[in-house]
């Protein structure tokens, strides 16, 4: 019983992390048809910040990592993606690929290929009693963080004027501009939010592993993107659900796969990805308005 519950909580926690990653990717895709492969490098940058500053002052580290996340996202936008706004999604994707590799190498050159460690959030890696069951505190915190952020983004999009403009620009960017919506501002705001979400993912992952290397954010971004596409990129809720599903599946695989299959765990996941894509090309939650994804 206990391992099952524990693994379920872990799965939900992993789901939350991947949902946040997928949302960050989905937001930017919605606003400018960019599948940002470099999202992982925003996560890595935030993670490095956490690692380096945690020993001095953990509140500072948290704030700084959020600032760094937002900052890197904005730099990516203004230095690269802004100039490619009119290009096809394929071009944008390749550019983000280049940016991703570029940042990875920069991190490698600056901080070395080996991982840097720090006891980030050490106090959180403990079991607590909740309702008579022992579960991992970190998992709980991750879930709470995920829920809070998801709700915040939702409220932003539905209750604020700027959020409404983001939704409009994502749905029909030409009409949005004709209505006077400043596309440059709206895009920048979206990137900033995705940077904040990336910082949250960085926090959750760093607390788990305590070690950050140049390719820290790659896996979560790849699977976050997979989740977003599977969930259907035409609606943000699709990205969130897709990301969540991928996270849960990954976690359950890690917990429950028999030892002989463990080596092929990653391969199995990717086989499922292919199957899912082939059978539901519109995404698991196909929205009413199917957006041109190519």
């Amino acid at each position: 019983m206990i391992p099952l519950l524990q693994s379920l909580v872990d799965a939900v926690s992993a789901g939350a992390i991947y949902a946040l990653a997928a949302l960050g990717i989905g937001l930017v895709f919605g606003i400018m048809r960019l599948a940002n492969l470099a999202h992982g490098e925003i996560i890595t940058g935030s993670a490095y910040t956490l690692i380096f500053l945690w020993q001095f002052s953990w509140p500072l580290a948290l704030v700084a990592s959020a600032v760094v996340g937002i900052g890197i996202a904005l730099v990516m936008n203004f230095a690269v993606f802004h100039w490619l706004r009119a290009q096809s999604p394929a071009t944008l994707l390749i550019a983000s690929f280049g940016l991703s590799i570029l940042f990875q190498r920069l991190y490698d050159a600056a901080f070395g290929t080996n991982v840097r460690t720090a006891p980030v959030g050490n106090g959180l890696s403990q079991s607590i009693e909740m309702g008579g069951i022992r579960i991992n505190l970190l998992s709980v915190i991750t879930i709470v963080l995920g829920v809070v952020l998801l709700m915040s983004v939702h409220l932003f999009l539905t209750r604020t004027s700027l959020g409404l403009q983001v939704k409009a620009a994502s749905a029909d960017s030409r009409m949005a501009r004709i209505l006077g919506i400043r596309s440059g501002l709206v895009i920048a705001v979206t990137f900033a939010i995705s940077g904040l979400l990336a910082a949250a993912v960085a926090f959750a992952l760093t607390t788990q592993s305590g070690a950050v290397g140049p390719t820290f954010g790659v896996q979560v971004t790849l699977f976050g993107l997979v989740g977003a596409v599977l969930g259907g990129l035409s609606k943000l809720s699709g990205s969130v659900v897709g990301g969540f599903a991928v996270g849960v599946v990954l976690s359950l695989f890690t917990s429950w796969l028999p030892p002989w299959a463990n080596d092929f765990r990653t391969a199995l996941v990717y086989v499922f990805v292919i199957i899912a894509l082939v059978f539901t090309p519109n995404g698991l939650l196909a929205g009413r308005s199917k957006k041109d994804r190519t």
């Binding site: 590799i101 050159a109 030409r174």
Partner: protein, 379 residues
């Protein structure tokens, strides 16, 4: 939207040569360029010859990539999978039996005993790549755009994972196949590269490729005109996989050490960057891109080692190559998204504009100033 290029095409009638000559020109130029590239490169230095060997192998892979990506307009992040199986085939068939027994003890007996001459191994490498591509194409080629990119990437991961962990077809996880004999010297590799270019060129002139390009330029019109996009994509994918397999086989015998982890995202990025920088839509673009990047990489490699300029030693940190490559790719996409060749084949020099194999409706065309995603209705 009426394309400016279509307009000037009628002006380009004054070709001063029969059309078959102009057509063959688009083959002759890449071949000539590869020949020159090899001759010049091999005369520079020993390290240049080494880099040249890798450059020619990359050229084969990138040309293979063009066959699919350039003609279908669909991005593939998985081609290194075919390179991997090509390399695997070459290694397993040409490794010295004693080494094979030591490094790869757990192989299937049939694989253990199998061996072949280098040429046969090369052809088999192409076959394995092509067959794998064909069957995975049957599954994947219904997908478009981003889904196709992810699915092909997933394919790469699956193949690499299998090659890493399945010790019945390869070394144990974490270990490499070493001591692969070099059976093809530089002139031979160059010749094979030129053959690959000819094959790609011939494919590009085939009906299947033409129909595929029609679908690339207008996704909605093609099926309506009766073009079976799926079938032609599978064909392109298979041919592309076979060529990539050739590249993989030669890569194995050039590098002499093969391990699954080498067929990774960095290798994928390298080949995609070469193609895009040269010009994704044309064969000439694939060739140009590879040559330019390989040359750049060679000289960056020298700088990384430290270059003496009289009293000053100039050097850059190692790992700069990928940084420069990433920057170059981004700059090209911003400044000249069609690549160095702008998606065109080698231009017949005796007239203004010529465009045989690639009628570009893509981002090579400068977009209108203000808004991009509006419907372009001619009213």
């Amino acid at each position: 939207m009426i394309d400016r290029k279509t307009q000037t095409k009628s002006q380009s009638r004054r070709l001063l040569a029969p059309s078959w000559a102009v057509d063959l020109w688009t083959l002759a130029v890449p071949l000539g360029a590869v020949y020159l590239f090899t001759v010049v490169g091999s005369s520079l230095s020993g390290s240049a010859r080494v880099d040249l060997g890798y450059a020619l192998v990359n050229l084969i892979v990138v040309v293979g990539l063009w066959v699919f990506v350039g003609n279908s307009g669909v991005l593939s992040f998985g081609h290194i999978a075919f390179v991997a199986v090509g390399g695997w085939t070459m290694s397993l068939l040409t490794l010295d039996p004693t080494i094979k027994n030591n490094v790869l003890p757990a192989l299937f007996p049939s694989v253990q005993d199998a061996s072949a001459s280098p040429v046969v191994a090369l052809i088999l490498g192409a076959l394995v790549g092509g067959v794998l591509a064909f069957f995975s194409g049957l599954v994947l080629m219904k997908l478009n755009g981003l889904e196709a990119g992810i699915a092909t990437f997933a394919l790469l991961q699956v193949v690499v994972q299998v090659l890493t962990y399945w010790d019945k077809v390869g070394p144990k996880s974490g270990q490499s196949m070493v001591g692969i004999p070099t059976s093809f010297d530089l002139p031979a590799v160059m010749t094979i590269a030129m053959v690959v270019i000819v094959v790609a060129w011939l494919y590009g002139h085939s009906t299947s490729a033409r129909l595929l390009r029609a679908s690339r330029d207008d996704m909605s019109a093609a099926p309506a005109s009766g073009i079976n996009v799926f079938r032609h994509r599978v064909i392109a994918f298979a041919v592309s996989g076979a060529l990539a397999g050739v590249g993989g086989a030669l890569w194995a015998q050039t590098n002499r050490v093969v391990q699954a982890s080498q067929f990774n995202l960095d290798f994928t990025f390298l080949t995609i960057a070469m193609l895009v920088i040269g010009g994704m839509l044309s064969l000439w673009g694939a060739v140009v891109g590879t040559m330019v990047i390989s040359t750049l990489n060679h000289f960056l490699g020298i700088l990384e080692g430290g270059l003496d300029l009289g009293e000053v030693t100039v050097s850059i940190p190692s790992g700069s190559r990928l940084i420069v490559l990433g920057l170059s790719l981004i700059l090209i996409l911003i400044l000249r998204p069609g690549g160095i060749t702008n998606g065109r084949e080698a231009v017949w020099p005796f007239q203004r504009k010529l465009d045989f194999l690639s009628q570009a409706h893509t981002s090579a065309v400068t977009p209108p100033t203000a808004v991009s995603t509006g419907a372009n209705r001619a009213r």
